[in-house]
Amino acid sequence: MTSVALRSRAWKLLEMVTTPLVPSDYLDLVSPLRAGADLRGRIEAVRPETGDAATIVIRPGRGWRGHTAGQYVRVGVDVDGVRLWRAYSLTSPTDRRDGRITITVKAIPDGKVSNHLVRRATPGTLIQLDQATGDFVLPEAKPAKVLYLTAGSGITPVMGMLRDTDFDDVVMVHSAPRPHDVIFRDDLHALVADKKLRLTELHTDTDGMLDIARLGDLVPDWAERETWACGPAGLLDAAEEHWTEHGVRERLHTERFRPTVVATGDGGEVTFSTTGTTVDADGATPLLDVGEEAGVLMPSGCRMGICFGCVTPLKAGAVRDLRTGEITEAEPGVLIQTCVSAAAGPCDIER
């Protein structure tokens, strides 16, 4: 018998020993980062970068497959007992010797996860991880000239690139409100001192916002440069327009952080994505009724919010709990009780 077959038999036997749990449930108690476990990481350090940004050093589990400079990772963090998932750019080089990875997080106002990570996260905490992903990466063939156009926390994926790959001719235009808001300012200035980077640092509080039409004043040969841009939507929209206008759109690579903000109101268009049914719903009818009315086979139970027989994944949008008025927005892993939830805007129910 091959060793693979042997191992799978041993595993089957182990499953009989641990039923109704699985062996992982016990192994997780002692070794949550082992190979074969769900991918997790352990926070090893939290280093302040600016007043509202910090770098989180994470020891990833054995299943971590590494990343490419510029990619991001989704992390699941328990905030006030609730697991919330967010994506953050990796800021560590890809070949860090100790195998640790870092993400750099800027606390945004009302940001549950970002504020938690920057201000309250403590070393030793376990977090959930997904494998690194994202197309905002450098090409295999080195471009002769590079431009990094960044603003605010848009610096983070680019810092991952800067730390990972040296180019002969790199220019960066970076905007932040004030000098002390510039994340990685010391690192950037060190690169400048080593002549590895030419940097234009714009302080928008005093200099005003970057006018993309005048980018040529700062970087005369911008159109010849392979450009990676990351920052607020306004900057990226303007850049895309500018590059298109000059017929060099293919040289611009952009990364957008914020997904579209869910607008919450009363009712909206409800999509039952598995069956491909779409209907309009008001803000007072339970989604269970909306689905049944539309001929969707909905799981159901007590119809009063107590049996949890109707819980269904909310894929997109927002719903309102008819008992408390509380709004729940779609996130990975969010299940809602359709019998006591109504549409609070357009939403997508997995049914």
Partner: protein, 372 residues
């Protein structure tokens, strides 16, 4: 059933006000749910798993009597924790808000022969929605016993103290049969119903796995301790069954608990629903350890009012709920475990015999009775 409706003194308005006050208690807990609660359930789960691992480890040497005793005691407690504070409460969705897919009502499976999803239907949906409504809530006597004067007597009931004892010993099998509605479904025609057959097969699979684990695999792993380990797991299952049966009997069977007629829940308001839960449940008083080992079902009244609030919060909720009972002049049925178990058993024995036709408790009849 008492002759006099113990809620007759309340006006419809008062009942709705009571409902609003209970909603406020619920909202307060929901607003303050957080890290501490999450840490609590994680700690309990981790402790249970460690206790089970260690106990099973000790039982590998159960040929030595001290190891047998320690291992059996540990495994009994681990199984009780799994069923009561962990399984029952997670399957109620009490911890769904954490969004941890591993501690979620849709994914949890417990050390019990009834598959989680079947039990969720019969317990969460039927029992918790129709609490103590004769003919709707099968938990009233589990379909094999007569626990209220209003239920029709049949000579079969003479044996019910015996049935109840056997049910207590093999409680998890009783629950599985009950979730399958075996009594109703064993008729020839129903037996062939594909939906019933699929559910029966699921129970069969679960039983096979549980039996294989407890009575074959672990004894085999124990080698020379095969028989002692077999006896140990049997004992642990027996202890767990007797314990959970006792606790659960205390929830709705003791004297003072009300049952309701089918037509009484027609068009029931939220306030009336709450009131029915209050009058249909009974608590067990005791220490923190007692509350923990009952899976906080010692706070059965609070659990029935708010089945999806985290179990570790019932103790604080109980103080406020009890104050409402006093405010609205209602009887809060509670007592220490031995007293409540005795009370429930006495009822089972008493109602094994026929009784006089019950007095009706509608307000009109009540006046007639008083006048008479």
């Amino acid at each position: 059933m008492t002759a006099i409706d113990p809620t007759a003194h309340l006006t419809a308005e008062q009942i709705e006000e009571l409902g609003r006050e209970l909603d406020a208690i619920r909202d307060e807990v929901i607003a303050s749910r957080g890290e501490k609660d999450a840490a609590y359930i994680r700690k309990v789960i981790s402790a249970q798993r460690k206790l089970e691992l260690v106990s099973r480890g000790v039982l590998l040497f159960s040929i030595f009597p001290p190891a047998w005793l320690i291992g059996t005691a540990g495994l009994s407690v681990a199984k009780i924790m799994d069923n009561m504070e962990i399984g029952h409460n997670i399957l109620h969705g009490q911890w769904d808000w954490m969004r941890d897919p591993k501690i979620h009502s849709t994914t949890w499976e417990w050390d019990h022969v009834s598959p989680a999803d079947q039990w969720k239907h019969s317990h969460n949906e039927l029992h918790h929605t129709y609490t103590n409504v004769i003919g709707k809530d099968n938990d009233l006597g589990y379909g094999i016993m007569r626990v209220d004067e209003d239920q029709k007597w049949h000579p079969f009931h003479l044996g019910q103290p015996m049935w109840n004892f056997i049910n207590a010993c093999f409680f998890e099998y009783g629950i599985a049969a009950y979730d399958l509605e075996l009594g109703k479904n064993l008729h020839k025609r129903r037996r062939k119903n594909p939906e019933f057959r699929a559910r029966a097969r699921a129970v069969g699979r679960k039983i096979r796995k549980q039996v294989l684990k407890d009575y074959v695999i672990h004894p085999l792993l124990s080698g020379p301790s095969f028989l002692p380990t077999l006896a140990a797991t049997f004992t642990a299952n027996l202890v767990r069954n007797l314990w959970s049966h006792s606790v659960i009997m205390c929830g709705h069977f003791p004297e003072g608990v009300q049952v309701f007629e089918r037509r009484s829940i027609k068009g029931e308001t939220r306030g009336q629903w709450y009131l029915r839960q209050m009058m249909g449940s009974a608590n067990i008083s005791g220490s923190k350890a007692m509350h923990f080992m009952t899976g906080n079902l010692s706070h059965q009244i609070e659990h029935h009012l708010f089945p999806d609030l985290p179990s570790n919060r019932y103790a604080e909720v109980a103080v406020k709920v009890r104050a409402l009972f006093e405010k609205y002049e209602l009887e809060y049925v509670t007592g220490p475990l031995p007293k409540q178990v005795f009370s429930a058993w006495r009822k089972v024995v008493r109602l094994s015999l026929p009784n006089k036709k019950p007095k009706v408790r509608t307000p009109d009849r009540e006046q007639e009775l008083v006048a008479a």
